[in-house]
Amino acid sequence: MSDATTGTLRVKTGLAEMLKGGVIMDVVNVEQAKIAEDAGAVAVMALERVPADIRASGGVARMADPTITEAIVGAVSIPVMAKCRIGHFVEAQILQSLGVDYIDESEVLTPADEEHHVNKWDFTVPFVCGCRNLGEALRRIGEGASMVRTKGEPGTGNVVEAVRHIRAVTDEISWLSGLRPEQLFAAAKDLQAPYDLVKWVAENRKLPVVNFSAGGIATPADAALMMQLGCDGVFVGSGIFKSGDPSKRAKAIVEATTHFEDAEIIARVSRNLGEAMVGINISDIPPAERMQERGW
């Protein structure tokens, strides 16, 4: 009988496999975390402020106060994720020491390094990272991310960027799948991604890790749309706790994510949810303030 090994790639990607078909919800306190767990969230993202409030308040957004993260870790039995700044490996070390189950190296916070992301192979705890296209996804996986999420545009309640990003990823996977082996070297150069991962994707016609959708999902129909477009599950940030009836909306989004191909069920759960969060048109956000541009 061999000894038990922790922190293996299979154990890290395996937790993401268990989250599939589920909804991960942003929460800023214990009360919200319990509402999310009770609504059927598969995990919560512990934050100091949801993206809509980060966007509104401006300034530098950092890792949450450990008190908030610890309180949420202690309050729910489902996995807890937390965000560190891009490239801020000390924030990541702190989050690992707090016992979080997944670290999101996130563009929602202000980047700490404009050239390098965290070397995620250094950690026992798994990482999820954002991407807008296949090259970005494979660069993050090359750095050790064991789950990715398309970025969308956080804190907007506008699904258009999330759709753009999942379509980019799936279109590029289709393109790679049609290439001859000798073309994959040039494809890796064009995608600016590790050759071995490019070859794997071309042969398997899918990403090597689980891919969720994030950034702009506000309704059950939005969640089902992202699932039909090929995402494995959804993150809902501001969309739940910036709406009129968070508990009811959270449950409805959970049901729509499971039954994403059943229009009758999606119609039923979409009734009388109260007010959705007020959305923002992407063209009204100056390019420099678009969070999706962060990360490289």
């Binding site: 598969v42 039995s77 499971t258």
Partner: protein, 195 residues
């Protein structure tokens, strides 16, 4: 033979792939009426609270119990083992289970994700050497009733068990590509006489 895989949330796709590789007709089950005609059911890994709430909303507790009564075999992996158990330690207040199998399961028994691990297991009835158990925020089986056979242990705790046409594993055979435990379920547990 037709085996349903409960597809409310979690790693159901991997179970379907593993079952189809054995030549079994595997079906993603999202509504209770899809259980009709299933000889076996796999309840996959995922979040037991999330799967349990969706089971409640869609009437699965009654439907699964009724189909089991009619002879449908059931295998629960990880969250699925929790949902099969008669009692759950460290459960969420009011967390409901099927309560079909005479085992007591402790949720998140090994700790948080940093403590998730893989290890070689000796599984009773499997030839061909140790089976790699992938344990992810896994439960363990704290105690079993009479008539329940422990199939595997790790560090003194039961991690796989069988009671007639019910089987529970607290690890994830669907993540390893090793077909032996799926084969055990299909060939020996499905269609076995009621204990």
């Amino acid at each position: 033979m037709k085996v349903g895989v409960l597809a409310l949330q979690g790693a159901f796709r991997e179970h379907i792939v593993s079952l189809e590789a054995l030549g079994v007709t595997a079906l993603a089950v999202r509504l209770p009426e899809q259980l009709d005609g299933c000889d076996g059911l796999v309840i996959p890994g995922g979040e037991s609270t999330a799967i349990g709430k969706l089971m409640e909303t869609y009437g699965f507790y009654e439907a699964v119990a009724r189909r089991h009564e009619e002879g449908m075999a059931i295998w629960g992996t990880c969250a699925g083992a929790i949902l099969l158990a008669r009692s759950v330690l460290d459960a969420l207040p009011g967390q409901r289970t099927l309560g079909l199998m005479d085992i007591a399961v402790r949720r998140n028994a090994y700790g948080r994700q940093s403590e998730s691990f893989e290890v070689g297991l000796d599984v009773s009835g499997l030839s061909g050497g140790p089976y790699t158990g992938v344990f992810i925020r896994a439960p363990w089986i704290e105690s079993v009733g009479e008539g329940v056979e422990a199939l595997a242990r790790h560090a003194g705790r039961i991690v796989a068990a069988r009671e007639g046409d019910l089987m529970a594993t607290t690890f994830h055979p669907e993540l390893t590509g090793d077909p032996r435990i799926h084969r055990l379920f299909v060939e020996q547990v499905v269609g076995s006489p009621r204990a």
